[in-house]
Symmetry: C2
Subunit: 415 residues, 2 copies
């Protein structure tokens, strides 16, 4: 028997035990996990040290090592996030629809857990704790398949979670960690339809593309963000500069950062040079069209790949366009359906842009950096969906649920 | 250029033209299609005749020929269904959530079309009209890939729809029929991620399994129904018999018909023989466990395959169980997560059954035959989802929509 099948079966069995557990029982278990992580902090940091050492030996960059690294503060932050999670309302059991039929049938559409959630993710060990606790809060079992680069950290975290769960009403088997991080186990997970209700990939474009291409288990695609800002003719120059510079430079490594800029030609003629200078002063590398390259000698000429790039770094592609329609067309061709913004004082152009651009979140006069479960007020986030089915945009607790029709009769049949 | 790519591109362009079309414009177009179908009835029946003749020559059974056949009445029924559709509320544009942030950001989660829907289906030409009109009502473009056995009928129906659309505000390209019904075009459709937002298979288990296995486009799985009725110890004998006999025999070819029966041993000892006799009198073939075969010599011994079978015919599998827990376990092992019923006067057993059985619709003292978009009051149905993401159970107009966050600011950035 394979590890994947064994753990799949155990998680499925646990998911049935989770059905009907009270919000109190689930929150109690979450609090128990929070304290246990603090209690086990020393051993967790020690195991994390092994991953860091292995990573250094493999020559990982400091930014990758930073993603793997746990600290006392980071563990405390995990515990605080779990406590905040216990304060969120429990979505399970909510009545979504009540239908009373003339024949006396009473139909209640009710929110229920998905069952077993598979998470496949890269470096960050905090995803282990996030995914486990969000799953438990929503009554789901979870199978975690992290990266080999965080093997010891993930194992220590899950051991701590198991230790906590063993003191609660919730089944220990509800959280499963796949220890064999080979490609073969990933493939097996993609086809574990018998036990998995959904698979959520978290990581780079390659991982997500592979999961979408190969998985027969339904996938919640979380996504790459090639986010654009379009500066329309009537945009306020100060607002445009603030949104673009902040959106590009405040945290370039996140998916809602700005990756591409479209500028109306008339606005560009008046304020373009100043904006380009602001970006250059912040060390942003610029890939521009011919117009940009003419006024900014240090700009590189953008190629087809640049227009589709999610740089996740201090780099941006810039194109001058003749109107809103051209901006919309460009975005619908190169965007990743994540977050797109227009800066304009023209309400008509704003409305056309927001309606025509095909993305999870569209902004008028605000930064795309707000696409985030916490910023939207959901209090939690399992990822940002760039697909259109089930959930689109920041996914909070509700995205981790399904529904079920409960039908109550007195012997009704179809005539 | 391939037919699939060309039509995919045209449908995608049309889907953008559909954005923001008023409910009036959409309903007007639907009415126009309804009249055009009536007007074109003669040519449609003539073309349908070609399919019927080809089908007879290929030796199709009368039930398959009946599925292909159109009549004056069936075309009138299609037109009436379209008129009813115009009377349903338009889901598009509905505000699903309004979030006001302290920083002044206003976030509106709004219902929007999915974009382009792919439908891949078997024989019945009425699916062509259903899928096209439900898609237009929800602002979606649609790519129809029917079966070669209904080639002439589908072509005549889509020609009629195009003729109607050309007189309206909606783009003719919003409805595309794939004329090459080879396996190659089906495969191409499975990977048309560039243009397709969702793929909905309608047909037998083989078709659905193939689509789920091969498609990289997100799939809305509509489903097989191996529906069970569990007769608990305290079930009223008359109610149990009525629900079982009606659920099995009233229309055996549909997915919500009863395929398997589980009976509490004590109930069986009292009323079992009578129930079996009723089924036999209705010509139902019985595949039973050892207990059933002992009391009913004409029963065949059920094998592993029978417990998982969706007979779609006058046949049923029957097993005697010792309690509700055994019934639930059996259903969760062999069921297809469609519709499951318990007949009992014990509220505790009913609650346990409804909660523990993993299915789209669960029934207490009523027939599984009610799992249907029209019976649930949705006024339309594109299929019954047996998956847990996006939509579960009967899918009405809302299942054909997505959501989008519209965010309105005054220059806000992340600090």
């Amino acid at each position: 028997m394979s590890e994947i099948k064994d753990k799949g079966r155990a998680a499925k069995a646990a998911s049935f035990q989770l059905i009907g557990k009270s919000s109190e029982a689930k929150n109690q278990a979450l609090k128990c996990i929070a304290s246990q992580l603090i209690e086990d902090q020393e051993i967790i940091l020690q195991e994390n040290g092994k991953d860091l050492e292995a990573g250094k030996a493999k020559g990982f960059t400091s930014s990758v090592l930073d993603r793997i690294m746990l600290t006392e503060k980071r563990i405390n932050d995990m515990a605080s996030a779990i406590i905040l999670l216990t304060e969120l309302p429990d979505p399970i059991g909510e009545t979504l629809e009540t239908i009373e039929k003339d024949n006396g049938l009473l139909i209640k559409k009710t929110r229920v857990p998905l069952g077993v959630i598979g998470m496949i993710y890269e470096a960050r060990p905090n995803v282990t704790v996030d995914a486990a606790t969000l799953s438990l809060k929503t009554g789901n079992a979870v199978i975690l398949r992290g990266s080999s680069s965080a093997f010891y950290s993930n194992k220590a975290l899950v051991t701590s979670i198991h230790r906590a769960l063993s003191k609660t009403e919730l089944p220990v088997d509800a959280v499963q960690l796949i220890e064999d991080t080979s490609r073969e186990t990933a493939k097996e997970l993609f086809h574990l339809k018998e036990y998995l209700d959904v698979l959520i990939p978290r990581g780079g474009k390659n991982l997500i593309d592979t999961v979408v291409r190969e998985s027969t288990v339904p996938v919640l695609e979380t996504g790459a963000g090639n986010c654009h800002v379009y500066i329309d003719e009537s945009a306020e120059p100060a607002m445009a500069e603030r949104i673009v510079v902040n959106g590009k430079t405040q945290r370039p490594s996140v998916c809602n950062a700005i990756e591409s800029l479209l500028i109306h030609e008339n606005w560009f003629n008046k304020y373009g040079t100043e904006l380009l200078t602001s970006l250059v002063n912040k060390d942003v590398e610029i890939f521009g069209d011919h117009t940009i390259c003419k006024v900014l000698p240090e700009a590189k000429l953008a190629n087809e790949e640049d227009w589709g790039s999610e740089y996740l770094a201090l780099a941006i592609s810039i194109k001058v366009v003749k109107d809103t329609a051209e901006a919309v067309e460009h975005i619908n061709q190169y965007g990743t359906k994540h977050s797109e913004a227009i800066i304009t004082n023209d309400q008509g152009n704003a409305a056309r842009f927001l309606q025509s651009v095909d993305a999870a979140a569209v902004y008028h006069n605000a930064s795309t950096r707000f696409t985030d479960g916490f910023e939207f007020g959901y209090g939690a986030e399992i990822g940002i969906s760039t697909q259109k089915l089930h959930a689109r945009g920041p996914m909070g607790l509700q995205a981790m649920t399904s529904s079920k029709y409960f039908v109550y009769g007195t012997g009704q049949i179809r005539e």
